[in-house]
């Protein structure tokens, strides 16, 4: 829990519940066989059903049910024997039927939870619905419909399956909200039901925000914040909105229940529509669909094929690889990275080294490759080999990192690269001793200063001499042996 202290010293806290819209990554749309694919030419993935042409009828995609059951398992939901769809009626040109087919009071998933940093956040429900098309308003101010000369509508997104995951108002800070979304996102990704890309809109977050003085337990009037396109905008918008509400309340005002839009560039929320302007959606049961009743076979199949969830995997990685929570999170934050480390361990690499080289060197390689690169195509035996070369003293740790980077870049096996580049660690004590003696002779001043100096001066000069020795060895001296020789030979 994080406390917000206002200008007059009052302590406040945020009360928030999140609505997360998650696009399900099925091959086809929720009610027809059109491709569910982002980024195609506008209006190419359309048919009579998703265009809502007269006479067309929806048929529920069975994969959508299966994915919902996975979500049900992952977040401890109850999936009732039967749930139903409703129609949500309102006019908008990017909605082909002028109603949205959506679940309402009987959702497919009810009463779940997610643990975030030791706190259990309740999830009220997850319900299925169809996505709308996408409007682009031309010639107006900032892409808004008001003032636009005309609008272009792309119906490729119309009928893309969405799961709306609605949390309880259990969230008490912007940080916690971001952590909740992060955990939700990695879990949805791990169970293979969504791409969870906030920037592409496959995960969209709306935040209900109210504030209350710390120590009270009522609920203040809330505002719903939309247009949150990243975890950073979620945090910034919630903090801004909380301060806005606190200032109003401390000035003796009251909060108006409304929907507010986050302005990412300017960093503020602005009113979009008030509760009074809210539509009457005239919900009623969708007569064109039958109740969703997942079979026992499907439920059993889903239970049997659930992958390890991120929280459990983090715990296991921490225990098995001897790494910190943060390192475990880093391993899981990039696709395939934890798999890579575990594969290297399975091939004989020391667990902790394998994990840390993965979080550092494999991550660095992926950053060089570019955004969105993942570790799934990389060869874990490269890491096994390089760790072996470091362990047996063939190369130093720093040399090892250089060779590993080259190997990941495709230059060859680590052993070959060591030979090709002439990288070899000098571990011959006699040869190293000769170099140390030469360095001492050439830098008698430094040796003298070391002798006369205090601890600080000694450390400085010792470092200098070590550097000179390594330079003379072209960086290939065994650092441990060199250190040892330095200690022995300094007067």
């Amino acid at each position: 829990m994080s406390v917000i202290t206002s200008a007059n010293g009052t302590q406040w806290e945020i009360v928030s519940g999140l609505e997360v819209h998650c696009e399900l990554a099925t091959n086809t749309k929720i009610f027809c066989s059109c491709a569910n694919r982002f980024g195609d030419e506008p209006n190419t993935n359309v048919c009579p059903v998703c265009l809502g042409l007269p006479g067309s009828l929806p048929v529920l995609n069975e994969k959508v049910v299966e994915y919902s059951l996975r979500v049900g398992e992952a977040f401890h939901f109850t999936v009732p024997a039967s749930s139903i769809f409703h129609r949500k009626n309102y006019f908008y040109p990017d909605m082909p039927k002028n109603f949205q087919t959506t679940q309402y009071d009987e959702p497919i998933c009810a009463d779940g939870w997610l643990e975030v940093d030791g706190t259990r956040i309740g999830i009220t429900r997850a319900h299925l619905e169809e996505d709308t098309g996408k409007s682009t308003h031309m010639g107006g101010d900032g892409g808004r419909i008001h003032g636009a000369s005309h609008s272009l509508v792309d119906y490729n997104r119309a009928g893309v399956p969405l799961l709306e995951i609605v949390s309880e108002p259990d969230i008490r800070s912007a940080e916690q909200a971001a952590a909740y979304v992060d955990e939700l996102r990695s879990t949805l990704k791990a169970i293979g039901v969504s791409d969870v890309k906030m920037e592409e809109g496959s995960l969209r977050v709306d935040a209900n925000v109210s504030v209350r003085p710390v120590g009270t337990d009522g609920f203040g009037t809330r505002c719903e914040i939309k247009n949150l396109n990243s975890l950073k905008s979620l945090r910034d918008a919630m903090d801004f909105e909380a301060m806005r509400q606190i200032e109003i309340l401390e000035d003796g005002g009251s909060i108006k229940q409304e929907t507010r839009l986050w302005n990412e560039n300017e960093g503020y929320t602005a009113s979009m529509r008030s509760k009074e302007e809210a539509y009457d959606y005239r919900y009623f049961p969708e007569p064109d669909l039958v109740p969703v009743a997942p079979s026992d076979e499907l439920r059993a199949h889903v239970r049997a094929t659930m992958p390890e969830l991120p929280a459990a995997r983090r715990d296991r990685l921490k225990a098995e690889l001897g790494i910190s929570e943060q390192d475990a999170r880093t391993l899981l934050s990039t696709d395939g990275l934890a798999d890579y480390a575990e594969a290297a361990v399975a091939l004989g690499a020391p667990p902790r080294d394998a994990a840390l080289w993965s979080t550092q060197d494999v991550s660095a390689h992926l950053n060089l490759v570019g955004r969105g690169a993942d570790a799934s195509g990389l060869d874990p035996s490269l890491l096994v080999e390089i760790l072996q070369l470091v362990a047996d003293g063939t190369v130093s740790r720093n040399q090892g990192k250089e060779v590993f980077a080259a190997a990941l870049a495709g230059e060859g096996r680590p052993g070959e690269i060591v030979v090709a580049r002439g990288i070899a660690q000098v571990s011959d004590t006699g040869a190293l001793a000769a170099v140390v003696d030469e360095v001492f002779a050439a830098n008698a001043d430094a040796v003298a200063q070391w002798q006369a100096g205090d601890d600080k001066m000694r450390k400085k000069k010792r470092g200098f001499l070590m550097g000179e020795a390594m330079k003379a060895l072209k960086g290939q001296g065994n650092p441990q042996l060199l250190n040892q020789l330095l200690d022995e030979r300094l007067p």
Binding site: P48, L51, G52, L53, P54, G55, S56, L57, P58, V59, L60, R87, N89, F91, P93, P96, K97, N98, F99, I145, S151, V153, D280, R282, Y283, F284, P287, D288, L289, V290
Partner: protein, 479 residues
């Protein structure tokens, strides 16, 4: 009309090469040429397409192929069934000129069986009405008496069959829109059990009530057509997946041993023409003579069917018809602003009855009214299902009038929507229950010599049984 051949005869003859599909078609086109200007059964006659299809059937037969159970049989399609590349208007200005990119499943199925689509028949706009007077393209006239309505909403299909323009027609029945015009025009019309016939490509009026069904001049032809179109369709989630029985195999088994109940609430109440009631009595007597037992039965909640229907159907319609907004297809009204354009499109494109029902339905679903109106209507629907179930514990089929009256004169009910709505009082309960029912012509009224229809009602999936009873009644007419 008397010289018109049955679909059975045509199909048998065409399949065996005794008659040519093209000749059959030309005979029907001649009848259309002679009377269509008076009757106005069609919004569109597909002469060229029909000729090409008939020639293709003849070629197939000549090549030794069997074109199917409806080979060469001309068929009229209600203009709310989608036909690929062919205008599908629902008799509404808002869809004028719209050509669907796909066929309704039932259209594909009659094509696949070798039938020849003759044209698209007139209807009350979006199937909302009981006289076909609500068509944006002018009313259809009853071929039996041109001063009278053919009933509705499938008035064009009923009139096409009655006038001999086609031996078969497809209609849709939401509250009686097949059975009532069949009764008023003197032909057979049947509403199948909900879910037996695909609704894919039927432009929706009220989704939980709509069902496509057959018109024919005799019961066997109607059964033949239904057998062709029904059966599971993966494109319709409400389509019944289990296999359906044959309708024709036992159709001539007669009624011996069957228990028939005359529904008091649909037969004895005020507003039922005495001659219509008498026809039901005669039909009952004929069934008794055929070995059935007949008794009267009360199905109390059917009295509230009309009230429930006029909340549920408009509620669903208000949502189904929301898509006609001028954005993607059909009429587009003037306006620089999207909401003005939407409003003008709908104001210009919909007729007054459609607007009335959209407003009724919108109101019935509104926050604060939902439970009192839509919710209450759904509870009535549940009661009707329960009461029918009780009746069917004691009876195999039920009997009632199809329409309270014979065909009425043009304009006699257009100023009073409630009087018009009463035309469907006997047919609506079947739709609310999702059951099946068939209207069979059973005599004429003594004053105007207009046809009277008797309705046989069956429980869910009793379609074959009500055909059997209808067939027995039909045979008893000649006796």
């Amino acid at each position: 009309m008397s010289d018109s051949q049955s679909a059975f005869t045509i199909a048998n003859d065409v399949r065996s090469g005794r008659q040519r599909a093209r000749d059959i078609l030309e005979q029907h086109l001649e009848r259309i040429d002679a009377r269509e200007a008076d009757v106005h059964a069609f919004n569109l006659v597909l002469r060229d397409e029909a000729r090409a299809n008939a020639d293709a059937i003849d070629a197939a037969v000549a090549a030794g192929d069997d074109p199917g159970a409806l080979a060469g049989v001309p068929i009229a399609l209600k203009d709310n069934l989608c036909t690929r590349g062919i205008d599908t208007t629902c008799s509404s200005k808002i869809l004028q000129g719209w050509k669907p990119p796909y066929n309704a499943t039932v259209v594909d199925r009659v094509h696949a069986a070798g039938a020849i689509a003759l044209g698209k028949t007139n209807l009350d706009e979006f199937a909302m009405g009981s006289s076909t007077e609500n068509s944006a393209f002018g009313a259809t006239r009853n071929p039996v008496d041109l001063s009278r309505v053919p009933g509705g909403s499938s008035g064009g299909s009923a009139a096409a069959v009655a006038a001999g323009f086609a031996p078969l027609a497809l209609g849709s029945d939401t509250g009686g829109s097949i059975r009532q015009p069949a009764a008023l025009c003197g032909v057979v019309g049947m509403k199948p059990t909900y879910g037996t016939v695909s609704r894919y490509g039927l432009v929706a009026f009220a989704s939980s009530l709509d069902q496509v069904g057959p018109f024919a001049r005799d019961v066997r032809d109607a059964a033949l057509l239904l057998e062709t179109i029904w059966g599971h369709d993966p494109m319709d989630s409400t389509s019944i997946a289990s296999p359906l029985p044959s309708l024709l195999d036992g159709i001539d088994k007669g009624v011996a041993g069957l228990r028939v109940g005359i529904v008091e609430e649909l037969t004895d109440v005020e507003g039922i023409d005495p001659e219509v009631r008498a026809a039901v009595g005669k039909a009952a007597a004929a069934l008794e003579a055929g070995g059935a037992t007949v008794d009267r039965v009360s199905v109390p909640s059917t009295m509230y069917g009309l009230d429930a229907y006029y909340l549920i159907a408009p509620a669903e319609a208000s949502s189904n018809l929301a898509r006609y907004d001028g954005v993607r297809y059909g009429l587009r009204g003037a306006g620089d602003d999207i909401s003005v354009m939407n409003a003008n499109t709908r104001n210009d494109g919909f007729g007054s009855e459609v607007k009335r029902r959209i407003m009724l339905g919108t109101y019935a679903l509104s926050a604060g009214y939902y439970d009192a109106y839509y919710g209450q209507a759904q509870r009535v629907r549940t009661l009707i299902v329960r009461d029918f179930a009780r009746a069917y514990e004691h009876f195999d089929v039920l009997l009632s009038p199809t329409s309270p009256t014979i065909a009425f004169e043009f304009g006699s009910k257009t100023t009073d929507p409630l009087a018009m709505y009463l035309s469907d009082v006997c047919t609506i309960p079947t739709n609310l229950a999702g059951h099946c029912a068939i209207s069979v012509p059973y005599g004429n009224d003594s004053v105007h010599q207009m046809p009277i229809g008797v309705q046989i009602l069956g429980r869910e999936l009793a379609d074959a049984l009500i055909f059997r009873v209808a067939r027995a009644l039909e045979l008893s007419r000649g006796a």
